[in-house]
Amino acid sequence: MNTNMLDAINAAKPKLRRRITTVPVGGAKAITFQAVVGHRRALLGAILTAIVVLVAVVSIFWTPYDPTAFKTGAPFSPPDLAHPMGTDVYGRDILSRIMAGAQVSLTVAASAVAAAAIAGTVIGLVAGFVGGVLDLLATRIVDIMLAIPGLVFALGIVALLGPSARSVTVALAIVYTWQFARIVRSVVISVRSRSYVEAARGLDVGPLTIMGKDIFPSVLPILIVQVTTALAWGILDEASLGFLGLGVQPPNPSWGSLLIEGRQYLYDAPWLALGAGSVVVVAVLGVNFLGDGLREIVDPRSGRKN
């Protein structure tokens, strides 16, 4: 309540920025199984996400029809019992294609986010921990990278590498890295001066040990939240690039490539685009619920706000 004037001034903007970049720095609580089960939204998100992942895994072994087989039914048949999500121009079964697409889309999103998380964490940890010129340089590079709108950036990289699942993965990994680096760095900076880290430094422990044992555990909860958020972006961006014709190329099924096929027949067979789109919405909603829930678990204060 006794807001110090200087604090108020300093708080005015960074507070907002912090909220936007979703960094609940400091006071991070561990994410436990019980905490997730006890949080309604997190649990719902976890269940939805688990179902989507399960469908993707099942599709490796079984789909109702061969996802690339032609004439499993009449072309452009609307959803019915034999084809719960209808068929496309070649009579391929949409449900089977969406299941197989889940596998590709989730793999692309997950690998991109994993790579970005690792790279971003390393950059953030080193920059925040070492400080000085290195930190300044890293911060500037991150600023530059974040100045290019994400999808535009990804589009440029895919143009460079040629449209394929691999290119999309690489592009999204490069685009997401900087957000991770910024968040991790901010946590490291806030943690670095805390007494236990100082103490560890005084005890003549190697810098790698301090980073691994003292700093990384503080970063971890926030990192998990950010990974979840980035997964939602990953699924959306893969689908978006696919929609633009710059993602996974037909006839290989991914949610993105199914959408571009659906777009061609939007008026004759709207279920093509609607089906794939709805699945994307459900998957992203699940991940978003989970991410939102985890953020509240990590930072209970955000529960009031979000």
């Binding site: 309540m1 936007i20 709108p149 589009l155 440029g156 460079l160 710059l246 939007l266 909603l285």
Partner: protein
């Protein structure tokens, strides 16, 4: 105030220069060679060498960069690899359509996001909040092309209220032009407003716990005064900053929406360039988009400082 503006500009200039270096290197990061990459299997070594020489791509890198940068200062973005045309006029021709869509989208974003977030925050925990908050999360989970597709299916295909896409310049036929802008802009508005709404809601809730808002009740001010003068007025200031940062998402979403609605803007030019592997066009457009994003945010910061005097210090 002037000092603040100068300080902000001094941060932005190196950022823009660094961006130009990054994007210059982008073209040279093409695996193999941009010309070979663009021509694909059709490019014979002689043809490639000839185009390289034509475009000056065989000169030292530093020289090329200096030339390019000098061109940028003159507003010259260079020449398309594919067509050999100057890029700048092509980009300029696309600007009105894109700007019109951007402004309308921002209008819808504010129209939906600000009241929704403010009402949810003001009546936190009530049924209206319990409806609006999950709705915002749902909105955040919907890909923008999906929102656009739904709008087309409902408003154009089923109800025949609006055409499915296309563009007419505002100067040519204002009413028709706005009518055509409605769907793409509304789709982007739905896409962007959930984030704005969540931020406004969080700000409003935080504001209600601020001492000065509590004190407003102690002073016996009318609830109306508290809502508008104390809460809304203080909640609007951050909206600017949020919209500035959201411009990145908007520009990305616009690339997709322009494609869906056959909107001849910068975004479609970018996608065409990317698909045809015209790297110089892609390079120019990314530079233009990033520069606009950075400069608009500079403007937003200055405006924010002007509106909220506490920031200036």
């Amino acid at each position: 105030m002037l000092q603040y503006v100068i300080r902000r500009i001094l941060i932005v200039i190196p950022l823009l220069l660094a961006l130009s270096v990054l994007l210059f290197l982008y073209v040279h990061a093409v695996p193999g060679d941009p010309i070979a990459g663009m021509l694909g299997p059709n490019g014979s070594p002689e043809l490639i060498a000839q185009i390289r020489a034509d475009r000056g791509l065989d000169r030292p890198l530093l020289e090329q960069y200096a030339d390019w940068l000098a061109g940028l200062f003159r507003g010259d973005l260079g020449v398309s690899l594919l067509t050999g045309q100057k890029i700048t006029p092509v980009v300029i021709a696309r600007i009105p359509a894109t700007v019109q869509l951007t402004l309308m989208s921002l209008f819808f974003t504010i129209l939906i996001g600000l009241p929704a977030g403010f009402v949810a925050g003001r009546h936190r925990g009530t049924w209206i909040d319990k409806v609006l908050s999950p709705a915002a999360l749902l909105g955040l989970s919907m890909p923008v092309f999906w929102i656009g597709t739904l709008l087309i299916l409902v408003l154009a295909v089923n109800l025949h209220w609006l055409p499915t896409g296309g563009y007419i310049p505002f100067t040519q036929n204002p009413a028709r032009s706005l009518q055509l802008t409605f769907m793409p802009a509304f789709a982007l508005g739905i896409h962007l407003s959930p984030f704005l709404a969540r931020m406004v809601r969080a700000t409003t809730i935080e504001l209600q716990q601020e001492q000065f808002v509590i004190q407003a009740s102690m002073k016996g001010l009318l609830p109306r005064t508290i809502t508008y003068r104390y809460l809304l007025r203080n909640a609007i200031v951050p909206v600017l900053v949020i919209l500035g940062l959201q411009l990145g998402t908007l520009l990305g979403g616009q690339v997709i929406i322009e494609q869906l609605f056959n909107w001849p803007g910068i975004g479609r030019l970018l996608v065409e360039g990317a698909i045809q592997r015209d790297y110089l066009v892609v390079q120019s457009l990314i530079l233009v988009i990033a520069a606009v994003y950075v400069i608009v945010n500079l403007g937003v910061e200055v405006l924010h400082a002007w509106l909220d005097p506490r920031v200036r210090l």
